[in-house]
């Protein structure tokens, strides 16, 4: 498989503050990577190094080039945090400037239509909402048909419809074989789209793999049912962390779903409408970050 990004023993510090420490990473063509971590974990710093905006210690290559080389720049589209609200400039003006940077830009009108921006194309950037500006930034990232996309908090400020449309676009880019690195605090969205998750904690990757692999390491589950039995009975079952009332249902939070389910078996005839949910990425992430804080 063709390697797009490679880092070996990458380190970076702002003065005395170590932000990235011994980062080893390989990203192959066509992968969609979800890069997650708490604020200040080093996600944006890592993206900036891969883009050539910052220089770290260690080996880094993007498209087998130094980050920031003209060749790699021509193949990368970036949607960084913050939008370019340039006074006196319309969406069409900005896209025209961006399109002039590439050799085979997409047709501006089609791109605007796909991103539902066509009605605003002659509007000044300063008059757009936060979500519309985010879509403009996405359009700028896409216009030169990049092979690799860096998306840093891409859906901040977007309403539910725009977010759904955005992730549909990402799905389409996946079909086209694009490689995408996304950071986002909306973990349920990352969970849906990413092939591979990278969890960055204190400047290191503490997990690198798929959601299924992550869930295997974290056996927690939520078991929900209706019952005529009293709540304290369930508190004493193995691996039960907490039991809550949710309207007329009980919700068991277990640290080991399999173990708790086995213990529930003798009571099954008294339980109705049982559902078992494995821990979401967000649940696991919260546990990991709480452990880190402790």
């Amino acid at each position: 498989m063709h390697t797009i990004i490679r880092t070996e023993h990458l380190k970076f510090s702002y003065g005395k503050k170590q932000v990235l420490n011994d980062i080893n990473l390989t990203v192959n063509a066509g992968e969609i990577i979800g890069l997650i971590g708490v604020n200040g974990a080093g996600k944006t710093t890592l993206l900036n190094i891969l883009l050539g905006l910052l220089k770290g210690e260690g080996a880094v290559s993007v498209f087998e080039q130094q980050p920031g080389s003209a060749i790699s720049k021509a193949r990368i589209g970036s949607m960084l945090q913050g939008d370019m609200v340039v006074p006196g400039i319309t969406i069409a003006d900005l896209l025209k400037l961006a399109a002039a940077e590439g050799n085979h830009p997409l047709a501006t009108n089609k791109l605007l239509k796909d991103l539902r921006l066509e009605p605003f194309k002659t509007q000044r950037l300063g008059s757009l909402s936060g979500g519309q500006l985010r879509r403009v930034t996405f359009a700028v990232a896409l216009i030169n048909q990049p092979d690799l996309l860096f998306l840093d908090e891409p859906t901040v400020g977007m309403d539910a419809n725009s977010r759904k449309a955005f992730w549909d676009n990402i799905e389409q880019l996946r079909q086209e074989g694009k490689t995408i690195v996304i950071t986002s605090h909306y973990l349920e969205e990352i969970q849906q789209i990413a092939d591979r998750l990278l969890i960055l904690q204190k400047g290191r990757f503490t997990f690198d793999g798929s959601l299924q692999q992550l869930q295997k390491q974290h056996l927690g589950a939520t078991i929900t049912f209706e019952t005529d039995l009293q709540l304290p009975i369930f508190n004493g079952l193995p691996a039960v962390d907490r039991v809550d009332h949710l309207k007329h249902k009980l919700v068991i939070h277990s640290t080991d779903g399999d173990q708790t389910l086995r213990a529930l078996t003798p009571l099954l005839d008294r339980l109705h409408q049982v559902s078992v949910n494995r821990e979401s990425l967000e649940d696991i992430f919260l546990q990991l970050t709480q452990q880190e804080a402790n």
Binding site: L53, L54, A74, Q81, D83, P87, I89, L97, G102
Partner: protein, 254 residues
Amino acid sequence: MKTFLAQLAFDSKRLVVRNVSFIFFSIIMPAGFYLLFTKIMVSGSAAEIKQFNLTYMGQMIVYSVLIEAFFSIASILRRDREKGLTTFLRLSPHGTLPYYTSITFWMLMMSLLSVVVLGGIAVGVNGVRLEITQWLGLIVVVLIGQLPLLMIGIALSHIHREEMLSLASNLLTFPMALVSGLWWPISMLPSWLQAIGKLMPTYFVNNLLNELTSRAKVDLTNLIGIAVWVLLAGLVVVAMTRNEQRRGVALGEA
């Protein structure tokens, strides 16, 4: 070339056509001052008025360029960094060279526009007459003379807070205009203030314009003064840029 032309078109809209503050402060205000002091608040003999119409045109052209560099350019460059435009261009295959070339080009065009507007008023309203070689010389002096002001404007753009930049621009522009004799003759100032005024880049540029329009011998000290200012301000800009890049501040908000 395609990238540069696109950058030129992009900047023409935001820097000139849709930039109300540039039109007002750099063109209308100096033109208004010129009309006010040459048509309404007039005193002296006919010969003195004729001479004043000419010298005050030069002074207002320099004032216009000064406002443009210390307010417009400083603020535009700072805002471009803050809004992520500079970062976006750094990440593009052609880098920031077309951007800086385009900004410089439009700065020159804005200065030429000042010359055209103020020169047009001087000729059309006040009957000022210069030979074509003098007009061309005037344009050359304005273009060269704006370089140190541009450098100072670029240095100012590294001030991160908007209100601080505005304060610094005001604190530099108006005292510099005053002490270098752009508003009234430098001979009216106390001698200690004259000594300071005669070191200002605007004084050197204004002197050169006066020498040119009055056909006096060009004093090389003025050119040397401009060159020294370009050098000093250039060193400050390089030092500030390197310092920011080292600290990673140049990334702006992106």
